[in-house]
Amino acid sequence: MQDLLYFSQQLINGLTIGSAYALIAIGYTMVYGIIGMINFAHGEIYMIGAYTALIAITGLTALGAAWLPLILIVALVCAMIVSSSMGWAVERVAYRPVRGRHRLIPLISAIGMSIFLQNYVHLAQGSRNIGFPDLIEGGFQFGSDDAFQMSLSYMQITIFITTLICMTALSLFISRSRTGRACRAVSQDLGMASLLGIDTNRIISATFIIGAALAAVAGLLLGMYYGSIDPLFGFIAGLKAFTAAVLGGIGSIPGAMLGGLILGVSESMTSGYLSGEYKDVVSFGLLILILLFKPTGLLGKPEVEKI
């Protein structure tokens, strides 16, 4: 019983962090699916989302807002708007001018953008860790008082539910809406889609905006869950989410979701049953193994190299 509770607790920890990875991974995978480049500045967009949310929360609290759902929704909307505009601007400034060149060029441009955004926040907000206020406290406890208790906090439940809503909305958007259909068409063949009258520039911008908005959601959720943010925290999260995207099959949206969850669970199980020191070793070992045996990732379709 004890062991089962312990296992479930680690599973919950892993799924929580995994769902957030998945939200960020969507941005990597959608952009790759459509223009075949890795947007390395995506982690920074997520970090900016977290900062915007924190600023909004602090502002609202200072103005005297006390109703929690209102604070959260306003913070979420602000974060999504700022991150999306940032995602859009990054694409216009750093990627569109070099689109269609050798694939290394947009990659370098993305890395440059990432460094720029990191340092920009560094200057604007300072380099110290900033604490997030505890907005969603408490949770459920399972197990007897004198032994190991499994806890499922309201914050973790919020993360699951929000992720679920976002994922469902995204799937519906991609499969049902006109823009979603255009997205799928562009990802299959950009040139052909353009010939058939799809405004590909608009679709590419939309992809960046959607990815950035989801990253902002993750920024708010993880900022609250962890409890503090700093200008560098987008980098590690970005790296993990990128791994998740590759693990699940880059270019595939369900793959990114699956990859995020697998990565989160494998991290928490490794630190739970082996040692925290091996967490990254196991996650990246897993990545190498999957890439060796299935180079397109778990759910990726084998496809002809796009150039």
């Binding site: 962090i17 604490g131 806890s151 409890g227 967490k279």
Partner: protein
Amino acid sequence: MTISVKKLVTAVSASVALMAAGHAAAEIKIGVAGPITGPVAQYGDMQFSGTRMAIKRINEAGGVMGEKLVAVEYDDVCDPKQAVTVANRLVNDGVRYVVGHLCSSSTQPASDIYEDEGILMITPASTSPEVTSRGYELIFRTIGLDSMQGPVAGDYIASQNPEKVAVIHDKQQYGEGIATAVRDTLKDKGIEVAMFEGVTAGNKDFSSLITKLKQADVDYVYFGGYHPELGLILRQAEQANLDAVFMGPEGVGNNDINTIAGEAAEGLLVTLPPSFDEKEENQELVKDFEAANEDPSGPFVLTSYSAVKLIADGIEAADSKDPFDVAAALRSGTFETPIGTVEYDEAGDMKSFEFVVFEWHSDGSKTPVN
């Protein structure tokens, strides 16, 4: 006409250069190297506020051998790579005395350069034993060692008769070093160390670690490292209802931990240098700090102040500005500083330095425990 203008310009610039050189000769540069930016910049603030005050007071009292001290400040971000760059820049700038660096992992590589280039270095904060264990002639400190701090923490935990203790560290030179010292002390005292594990610095999710601590049912958790990680561990542990007392070294004892951990910082135990600012003989100095709107209570303010004072006193005692003579004078003399009477051993460590256990409060204040 043109020629004479040219000549004039040359003459003027030459005399300006001469004046500048004459001016430069009448001052002694003190390099201050520490984090102005980066995650542990709060400690850098302490260091810079201490050195600035020391330089100001020494200059007001007439300087050193009739010359003024001038601070040259460098930002190493507490990053070993940056520290090496800073050390090389210091060499280039002709600085011969350094107060710094702050993080042991920065001090270590930088000190190699200082020793090679004949620059005297006093670190006001690096506690890693390795810094002074390499037989260097010019490397000193105004702080104790992890090998002193670890046992103080270990002894305190042992005196509380815990059943099980977990020791966590951030896998960096400072954190792992001190955590190892704590673990060894506990083992010597027969206390069970249920867990000894590293976390990755910069990581933000500690839920798995906390679940493991809960499962292991530990009474005390010692964390070797800095506040960004411990702050989050405290906060996430409170949310997960982990019932254990946390303890950490001086690297966690600053107000930033309250910003991160909030209420969860209440009751944290921290080993720190004693509160030098509360000592009777330092009250005049404390007033000067307060008049300048600076806070003298941070753990590294007065150690930094003392580092500058030791350089000044060392130059006077040696009656020479050669760093090697100053180093010899520091080793042979006895010096009065705000952190007490300082005597150095061969390695460049103070012969005695005391660490005290404090209880930290969520409003940023602290009270001594024993």
